[in-house]
């Protein structure tokens, strides 16, 4: 296979030792790289039932074969570890220059094991790696940390860092690089547990050669041209904040902790309004022609803040918390960036606390400090408390909504809006049947990106029978796995007439492997199955594939309907009715020989 180094760098933080690990050829050809490689490395290096906080929990950073080929939007990294939020697979993506330099070190991935004896920075310089003490960086935000390290090590070094939230083991802490956050499932907390403040990478080698350079160049040019068409205009012109007003109109905008699907003040937070009145600039990740990253500035009397804003941040810190003021949302988003926290889980956890207060359920700490729906100052104060794990309230909410509800009790689990411990993103599943299924079954927990199943609901397929909805959801999940593996940004997916056919052609040109559309889709299914296998090994049970109580009934989906959808999904995957993966299915997918530690139940 072309376009791979076939080598991983394994770092043991406990001893400071490093060693190369050869990637079996079968792994590269069956999984390609990116999210697929990361999932396999996690399965390979993690002991069964690993504790997320344990030194044995691997932290994986993996590149994909398209990085550095000139294919637009391919500068992405896949992260995999055991999530402190879910105890299951924690996989996140991040983008930009770090992917390019890591690719040029001569390694396809980093596997970080152990726990450093003292706070450290892992410095990777091509084939060498060492630990640098990080005492001088403690307490600094991710951006300042990266600036300090680049100042010291050189401008060609790229940095992924954690903020104070990661240092303090906030369970939804993010890893931040080049202004992008890998936040979902809390990878920054795992780095914090390893006492690793940052990873600094200098790669000056060559990208691994592709199979057909002229063909790749021509195909990359065609894709770049299509990336500038109407399919991506939304991202270029407004960014994802364009979703908010439309979602409110459809009744799928989570509002006041999912108590409603429309926000009366949606126009005040609308992406169209923000674009016209508060936009500062637009930027792009490395090697991206789309440029979806829109920055907005505050316009109130306080100190000016300029921050990147996405729909998910806007809903989670806006309508979900009943906040009507866009300036408050921007300040809250900036706080999440400063502390290095996933905004969806931060907003979801604060919204849970707000509903506790609304219902008269006492929280720890001074009642004057409790967050309340619509109270912007209380939102900002609470985010600071979480990021610092300050006081009993900050400490409680740093645990996320599931654990906080278990601690507080008094029925508050009923409005802890998570799946498997991961807070729901900005799609109220009432009337979104495929998305409801996607939230329930995705291995990482409630996630919109790993299935993109809302696309099925937002299409002419929405009224299809359940079996067809489940099949479309599974196919969408396979496609997402491939996009995360090659990698290509999901915002390009509408630029393909037939994704699997055209992406398979790109794979042939880059890798030289004889992929067709069917094989590529099977590869997607393999990757989804690997993630599922990891969860099985971690103790997943059928009861984990469900939705929060609030969404099981007239305000979401009837339990019997969800059960029917899940049963259809398992059937389509070739799994047993209780969600186990039979050994025959592993053989069918060519996975049996790749697994060292067989999951129990398979």
């Amino acid at each position: 296979m072309n376009a791979v180094h076939n080598q991983v760098l394994v770092v043991d933080l406990s001893t400071g030792q490093t060693k190369p690990f050869p990637i079996p050829q079968e792994v590269s050809s069956l999984l390609l790289g990116g999210a697929g490689l990361a999932a396999w490395l996690l399965l390979h290096f993690a002991p069964p039932r690993v504790d997320p906080w344990a030194p044995e929990n691997p932290f994986i950073v993996a590149t994909g074969p398209f990085i550095g080929t000139g294919i637009t939007t391919a500068s992405k990294l896949a992260i995999a570890t055991t999530s402190p939020q879910t105890g299951f697979i924690g996989d996140s993506l991040t983008s930009s220059y770090l992917a390019l330099v890591l690719r040029r070190t001569g390694f396809d991935a980093l596997v970080i094991l152990g726990q450093a004896p003292r706070w450290s920075v892992l410095v990777v310089e091509n084939h060498q790696a060492y630990l640098r003490p990080a005492d001088d960086l403690l307490g600094q935000d991710p951006e300042a940390t990266a600036a300090a390290l680049r100042n010291e090590l050189g401008r060609d070094v790229r940095v992924a860092a954690i903020g104070r939230a990661g240092e303090r083991l906030v369970r939804y802490a993010a890893v931040v690089n080049d202004g992008r956050l890998a936040g979902r499932t809390g990878p920054g907390a795992v780095l914090g547990a390893k006492r690793l403040k940052a990873i600094a990478v200098r790669g000056t080698g060559r990208f691994p050669p592709v199979a057909n350079p002229a063909g790749v160049t021509a195909a990359a040019r065609r894709l770049a041209a299509r990336s500038l068409g109407p399919e991506t205009a939304k991202y270029r012109e407004l960014g994802t904040v364009a979703n908010l007003a439309f979602f409110s109109r459809l009744g799928v905008l989570p509002t006041r902790n999912f108590q409603a699907g429309s926000f009366p003040a949606a126009e005040a937070l609308a992406g169209e309004y923000l674009t016209l009145h508060q936009r500062a600039d637009r930027q792009a990740c490395a090697a991206c022609t789309v440029g979806c990253e829109h920055h907005f500035r505050t316009t109130d009397a306080g100190p000016e803040v300029t921050v990147r804003l996405e729909y998910e941040t806007l809903f989670a810190l806006g309508s979900l918390c009943g906040i009507e003021d866009p300036n408050t949302v921007l300040r809250a988003a900036a706080l999440c960036d400063y502390y290095g926290m996933d905004a969806i889980s931060a907003g979801g956890t604060v919204a849970w606390a707000m509903e506790c207060v609304e219902r008269g359920i006492p929280l720890p700490g001074d009642p004057a400090d409790w967050p309340r729906f619509g109270d912007g100052l209380s939102l900002l104060r609470t985010l600071e408390a979480i990021g610092e794990r300050r006081g009993p309230l900050g400490d409680l909410l740093a645990e996320g909504s599931r654990r906080a509800a278990e601690i507080v009790g008094q029925g508050s689990q009923a409005w802890a809006m998570h799946v498997k411990g991961l807070e729901l993103p900005g799609y109220h599943p009432k009337n979104l049947r495929a998305m409801a299924l996607g939230f329930a079954i995705t291995p990482r927990g409630a996630c919109h990106n790993r299935t993109s199943a809302y696309e099925v609901d937002f299409s002419e397929q929405a009224g299809n029978p359940f079996e067809q909805l489940a099949r479309a959801t599974a196919q969408s999940e396979d496609r997402a796995a491939i996009l995360d593996t090659l990698p290509i940004c999901k915002f390009l997916r509408h630029c393909f007439d037939d994704f699997f056919v055209e992406a398979a052609e790109l794979v042939r040109l880059v890798t030289g492997l004889p992929f067709d559309a069917n094989e590529l889709q099977r590869t997607g299914e393999r990757i989804v199955t690997l993630k599922k296998l990891f969860n099985l090994r971690q103790g997943w049970t059928r009861a984990d594939d469900t939705l929060p109580d609030r969404l099981l009934g007239p305000d979401g989906i009837e339990p019997a309907e969800l059960e029917t959808l899940i049963a259809a999904y398992y059937r389509i995957r070739g799994w047993t009715p209780d969600g186990q993966v039979p050994a025959t299915r592993l053989h069918d997918l060519g996975l049996a020989s790749l697994l060292v530690h067989a999951p129990s139940g398979s």
């Binding site: 109407p230 399919e231 126009e267 999901k490």
Partner: protein, 95 residues
């Protein structure tokens, strides 16, 4: 058969809303189908010609979709009747 002119409201979201500068526009036209309404929309809002509506075809560019009475559609033969709720938006691909 002569079709009587009827008033239709179209709600715009995302790029169409920014181009036109309004959330909602009203069009009075003799319309039977969504395809007819797209032509009428093109005449009423020339800002949409090119980025959102193909001026030659009188129909949506790739990446856009209508929502008619809560159903997503890119089918120009979709029948309309007075009182139909019509939304125009970018096809959803994540956030």
């Amino acid at each position: 058969m002569t079709v009587k002119a009827t008033r239709y409201a179209v709600e715009l979201y995302g790029v169409p809303a920014v181009l036109v500068g309004k959330r909602r526009i009203e069009i009075e036209a003799a319309v039977q189908t969504l395809g007819d309404l797209a032509w009428a929309l093109l005449r009423a809002c020339p800002q949409l010609a090119g980025p959102v509506l193909d001026p030659e075809l009188g129909w949506l560019q790739r990446g856009y979709v209508f929502v008619v009475n809560a159903r997503f559609t890119r089918e120009p033969t979709t029948p309309l009747s007075p009182g139909s709720e019509v939304l125009l938006v970018a096809a959803q691909a994540g956030g």
